[in-house]
């Protein structure tokens, strides 16, 4: 396959950036999208050009590092991570636009690499259960009903890639935040901090400059792990419940 790529190039955070056009040849359908970019980069290096910077690591869809908007879709046309997108989803001669995540809270570092540390700070605000090492009771002391365990797991699957923010017309981090709130709040172990967790995490989310939720649903549409939109509804309920209870620390 031969493809035309239009890629966002930006030297650093201060630079303005613009789309640049490249041709790549010899692409096979078995390649992953990132392997296609590897091919481009090998070529660019030998031509003395700066290769395209992009975040990537595990390349098996679980670390959440890769983060490209491909033809306007976060992670591209398939519902998966960019690293698990294969070139068989494209056709010979296609023109493909590749851009970074766009959000005020995710400033561009270089080319397609953005700073997602805001997510870490949201978790730091309360996305945990306080259980210092050594304090744990026997694991079977508290059975967890299977539906609750499954519900927790479904939300715990979030890989923190930020596609939800990238796809959201408001640059909101509601799906990310709600996934963690729901994972921990549904478990009996998470109950003691149930109220403070949701209040603190939402506050941190707002402080990072993410937008608000207009329930456009784009986030859940692109989420590679299938975190449902109802996750946001559940978090809203948790937040209202905590607010009504007056559970401020």
């Amino acid at each position: 396959m031969k493809l035309t790529l239009r890629v966002w190039r930006q030297r650093n955070a201060a630079d303005d950036g613009a789309m640049s056009t490249y041709e790549v040849d010899g692409i096979t359908p078995d390649m992953s999208f990132l392997e296609m970019l590897d091919t481009l980069n090998e070529k660019l290096i030998l031509e003395g050009e700066d290769p395209v910077a992009f975040d990537h690591d595990c390349r098996e869809g679980i670390c959440g590092a890769c983060s490209l908007v491909i033809d306007g879709d976060a992670h591209g046309p398939e519902r998966t991570t960019t690293c698990q997108l294969h070139m068989r989803s494209f056709r010979d001669g296609d023109v493909i636009d590749v851009e970074p995540w766009r959000a005020a809270a995710f400033p561009v570092i270089k080319d397609l690499v953005v700073d997602r540390s805001a997510f870490d700070r949201i978790v730091q605000a309360g996305g945990y259960i306080t259980a210092p090492t050594g304090t744990a009771p026997e694991a079977h002391a508290t059975p967890v009903p299977k539906p609750d365990a499954d519900h927790a797991f479904e939300h715990a699957e979030c890989i923190g890639c930020g596609a939800c923010v990238a796809a959201c017309p408001n640059g909101a981090a509601m799906l990310f935040t709600s996934a963690k709130v729901n994972h921990l709040n549904v478990l009996p172990q998470g109950a003691p901090e149930r109220e403070t967790r949701v209040l603190d995490m939402v506050e941190a989310m707002d402080a990072e400059g993410f937008g608000g939720c207009t329930l456009a649903g784009e986030c859940a549409t692109v989420c590679p792990k299938g975190i449902p939109l109802s996750s946001i509804t559940d978090m809203n309920r948790e937040w209202l419940r905590a607010t009504v209870k007056g559970a401020r620390r």
Binding site: R6, W8, M19, V69, D71, G72, D73, D97, E99, R102, A103, A104, A105, C168, P169, N170, G171, A172, V202, E203, M205, D206, G209, F210, G211, G212, C213, T214, L215, A216, G217, E218, T221, P228, L229, S230, I232, T233, D234, M235, N236, R237, E238, W239, L240, R241, T243
Partner: protein, 219 residues
């Protein structure tokens, strides 16, 4: 509550639901226009006497008006502040833009602005009579309605606004339920159904009046 995006959205949801409730009553009242001037005007009078003798004449109406104004102000202020925040949170657009959300969802902001402007016109037209076509007659709502919808622009403004209202409710009702945490996967289809039904009924119910005037069913 007001400091948080989630709280502000809850304020919008509650104020929106208050307005929605009012609209349902308003629409049912409007339909009385089809039963002739007497019944319609009597209804207009009744609104002012509701709650008597406990309430004084028009007290209940004023309470409703105050609540509604508070709801409109809260709704609009929250919407304005949240919109500014949302736009700031997404300063750079994608070169390759793609839209996937429904039309109703994408038009909430401008739809809201249209509805706001409409409400102002509507009050000046049929409550205070400042922009009324023909002679506005206090206490004769039937005639006022017929006058309004006898002008082409009166019909256009009204019908366009009611279509915007339908779209606004279609997304707004469902979204309000999500914002207040009342949604959920099992209830999602039901909520969407109710939202569509409400949007359809309200739009049809309201639009029926100008259509009635235009077709001379109401004259």
């Amino acid at each position: 509550m007001w400091d948080s995006t989630v709280g502000k959205k809850a304020v919008m949801a509650v104020s929106g639901l208050i307005m929605l409730l009012y609209l349902v009553a308003h629409m049912i009242g409007n339909l009385k226009v089809f039963f002739g001037p007497q019944e319609f005007n009597a209804y207009g009078h009744w609104i002012r006497t509701v709650g008597e003798p406990f309430m004084h004449y028009t007290w209940t109406l004023w309470i409703i008006r105050v609540v509604l104004v508070a709801a409109v102000v809260a709704h609009a202020t929250a919407a304005y502040q949240l919109s500014r925040r949302d736009i700031a949170a997404r300063p750079a657009k994608y070169v390759h833009a793609r839209r996937r959300a429904s039309y109703a969802t994408r038009t909430m902001r401008w739809g809201g602005v249209i509805l706001g402007l409409f409400v102002v016109w509507h009050i000046l037209d049929l409550t205070t009579g400042h922009v009324h076509a023909g002679g506005f007659q206090e206490g004769h709502p039937y005639q006022n309605v017929v006058d309004s919808f006898s002008t082409w622009y009166g019909n256009v403004i009204y019908i366009v606004a009611m279509l915007a209202l339908g779209l606004h409710i279609r997304h707004g009702f469902w979204a309000a339920a999500q914002t207040l945490g009342a949604g959920g996967r099992s209830r999602d289809r039901a909520l969407k159904g109710v939202a569509n039904l409400l949007a359809l009924l309200l739009t049809a119910g309201f639009v029926a009046v100008p259509v009635g005037v235009m077709t001379q069913v109401v004259s």
